[in-house]
């Protein structure tokens, strides 16, 4: 569903991402680990075609994102570290707007409210302007937008950073549910525990290179942490 083929990005002499090969199938949750500046966000930006690859290609559902940009975006939903919404619109209006612009499905108001509720947004917040929302509430609207899109692939850029443990846990449950429905998920995160918990595979990145990639079923949480720290110290 998500595929990187020798995907490379350089800014002048500096290489942000060394050739990366990655394939994430339906139902898989791939967690990208690494320090800040390791190339996690660059990878996600390349999949979203926010930046152009220097060489290689990123594909979503078999579509090259650089040449079939709009088409490929129909198959993917994106939740950034902080979901950015229109502060003068309510949570419901934001969801309605982004959903309508994805141009895939036409939902009734009740259905839209249903998405907000299953994303965990308190009922009384639905009709409040987003300007008054906490970070967690914005994140939940972002999740609702992603759910409403019913995309085959999900790109997540540290979506749980700054969330309280309960919200974070709910988010993990959601990921499990979505992967169970056959969604391919690529998530950049700092949270080793979360990665082990809901990821099917993890990749450790360092200075633009994928230095390790393994299945979470092969490794315990303590071993994953040791492996991670070992790579960071090298």
């Amino acid at each position: 569903m998500l595929e990187a083929i020798a995907l490379t990005k350089s800014y002048g002499a500096q290489t942000a991402l060394h050739p990366l090969d990655l394939k994430i199938d339906r139902g898989e949750v791939y967690c990208l680990l690494g320090a800040n500046g390791a190339g996690k966000t660059t990878t996600i930006n390349l999949f979203l075609n926010f930046v152009e690859p220097t060489s290689g290609a990123a594909k979503i559902a078999g579509l090259d994102v650089a040449t079939q940009s709009l088409e490929s975006k129909k198959h993917v939903a994106y939740i950034p570290e902080t979901v950015m919404l229109y502060r003068n619109l309510t949570g419901l209006e934001n969801l309605e707007y982004f959903t309508a612009l994805s141009g895939l499905e036409k939902y009734s108001e009740a259905q839209l409210r249903g998405f907000l509720r299953s994303a965990g947004l308190p009922k009384d917040a639905e009709d409040k302007r987003v300007g008054a929302y906490s970070k967690g509430m914005r994140q939940k609207v972002g999740i609702a937008i992603a759910m409403a899109k019913k995309a085959g692939a999900l790109l997540l850029d540290e979506p749980t950073s700054g969330l309280d443990p309960k919200a974070s846990n709910e988010f993990s449950e959601l990921l499990k549910r979505m992967s169970g429905e056959g969604v391919a998920i690529l998530m950049a995160t700092h949270d080793l525990f979360r990665a082990k918990e809901c990821g099917t595979r993890v990749g450790i990145m360092k200075q633009g290179r994928m230095v390790a990639s393994l299945s979470t079923s092969e490794i315990g949480h303590a071993d994953l942490e040791r492996l991670y720290l070992q790579h960071m110290h090298d």
Binding site: L48, F50, S69, L70, E71, S72, K73, K74, V76, A77, Y78, P80, T82, V83, M84, L85, Y86, R87, N88, L89, E93, Y97, F98, A100, L101, S102, G103, R129, G142, I145, K149, L155
Partner: protein, 472 residues
């Protein structure tokens, strides 16, 4: 999809306090300008009508008088105000609206409000034209600077692009939203303006102004479209809303303050016009002094010889007509040649200055919309000249009639020849018809073309910048 974007843009605009407030203020100013224009128009046209009637009445009832004395007595001619002048007072505060038509002299215009005004007049009276030319572009700057740059800074553009919205659709939605937002202010303003027009002049004359009003609306639409498109283009192109605002305000200041001032100064340098005092001196010198036909005493001598020869007599006393009438008319004709030459030079310089300013519209759209606005309001310098020419033709005809009367019926009495009210009645009153819209349009081709070019360039820039929309 476009309609959804338009709806969201309008909702946001209404909920964000800035645009309704600024727009409300602009609309209030516009309404005030219309009301003030309407009141001014009503008062001035009333004054002009009264004065025009008075000057005619005085002429008709001036009693027993020598025709040449009557010519000295003269009459006033008032330039009628078109109802459209409510919108734009144009050059009238500087050029004046009334001229005294008397013997021997082509006078300059009087009643220039600018003469009596304080320094504040430099900033211009609050007219609808000021609001349309300066404040609505400012409103457009406020409405557009954040269109893309603001979303880019807030991060919503990232979210938006991730769902796969074509940048062109987004741009179209925003442009239409902007237009709808502006229409909220401009439609009531246009209705108000039309109302003021009809109220000031009656339905018939108001309806006659329709072609002028439509051209004016078209010119301002192009002007606003230009500003809106430039705003969207800059907002799409530069990274931050702050930078977009700085760029757009810079352009606004250049367009509304720097360029007009500079265009006036440069046009005066390139095509200098004499001061009012120097001009009067030159004319006085020309009238008195030598020209191609010799000095004034030589001219008088030659006229005498010619006249005697024409009538086949040897003494002036033997002439069957009054020589005073002939001599006065000859003086008029000599004067007219001088006036034609000197006023011709002056008007040519003014026209060259105007033409230069119209070309300067290539660097600032205000300089392209302004002449069209004045022309359609009937207050530009071309229509001032049109009136001046008509008034001068009337003056010359009036003087010729007086001199002919003196020549034909004043034999032996010359300046002692008196005529009465019956003769005054034979002189038609001064009537003036403003030029047609096609006459006006003919002279506005360059500024309209420049304006259309600005719109085209701005729209292309908008298209170009939005198709290359960057997420960050």
């Amino acid at each position: 999809m476009v309609s959804i974007i338009v709806r969201k843009e309008i909702t946001e605009m209404l909920r964000d306090g800035r645009v309704p407030w600024c727009g409300g203020i602009v609309l209030a100013l516009l309404a005030m300008a219309f009301l003030a224009g309407w009141a001014r128009h009503r008062e001035l046209s009333q004054q002009h009508r009264t004065a025009q009637e008075a000057t005619r009445r005085h002429w008709l009832t001036q009693g027993q008088k020598n025709p040449h004395s009557a010519a000295h007595y003269g009459i006033y001619a008032f330039k009628p105000k078109l109802p459209m002048a409510i919108l734009d007072t144009g050059t009238e505060p500087f050029t004046g609206v009334a001229v005294w038509l008397e013997a021997h002299k082509q006078n300059e215009f009087k009643y220039r409000p600018a003469q009596d005004a304080t320094m504040l007049a430099r900033f211009g009276e609050l007219t609808a034209a000021t609001v349309l030319q300066l404040l609505i572009p400012l409103l457009l700057v406020i409405m557009t600077f954040g269109a893309f740059a603001g979303e880019r800074e807030q991060g919503t553009l990232r979210q938006l692009m991730s769902v796969g919205v074509p940048a062109r659709t987004l741009a179209l939605g925003k442009a239409l939203g902007l237009m709808a937002g502006l229409a909220v202010y401009l439609v009531p303003a246009a209705v108000l303006g039309a109302g003021a027009l009809v109220f000031a002049s009656g339905a018939e004359e108001g309806a006659a102004s329709l072609p002028r009003a439509l051209w004016l609306a078209a010119a301002y639409s192009l002007y606003f479209l230009t500003f809106g498109a430039i705003g969207l283009a800059v907002s799409a192109w530069v990274r931050s809303p702050r930078l977009a605002l700085v760029c757009l305000l810079g352009f606004w200041i250049f367009n509304s303050l720097v360029a007009p001032r500079a265009a006036v100064d440069v046009s005066k340098k390139l095509h200098p016009t004499p001061t009012s005092f120097d001009f009067a001196e030159t004319i006085a010198a020309d009238l008195a002094g030598a020209d191609g036909h010799g000095t004034s005493s030589e001219r008088a001598k030659r006229l005498e010889e010619q006249t005697l020869k024409q009538y086949g007599v040897t003494k002036l006393a033997d002439l069957p007509v009054s020589f005073a009438g002939i001599s006065l008319q000859a003086g008029e004709e000599h004067g007219n040649q001088v006036f034609d030459r000197r006023y011709g030079e002056l008007w040519r310089s003014f026209e060259q200055q105007n033409r230069f300013r119209e070309w300067a519209g290539l660097i600032a759209p205000l300089l392209a919309v302004r002449p069209v606005s004045m022309a359609m309001s009937g207050t530009d310098s071309a229509q001032h000249r049109h009136f001046a020419v008509a008034a001068e033709a009337y003056r010359r005809d009036l003087n010729r009639r007086m001199n002919d009367e003196l020549r034909d019926h004043g034999k032996g009495k010359d300046y002692g020849h008196l005529v009465g009210d019956d003769f005054w009645k034979e002189i038609p009153a001064f009537e003036y018809t403003a030029p047609s819209v096609s006459w006006v349009l003919d002279r506005q081709q360059l500024p309209l073309l420049v304006l259309a070019m600005w719109t085209l360039v701005a729209l292309s820039a908008c298209y170009w910048a939005t198709t290359r929309l960057r997420v960050e």
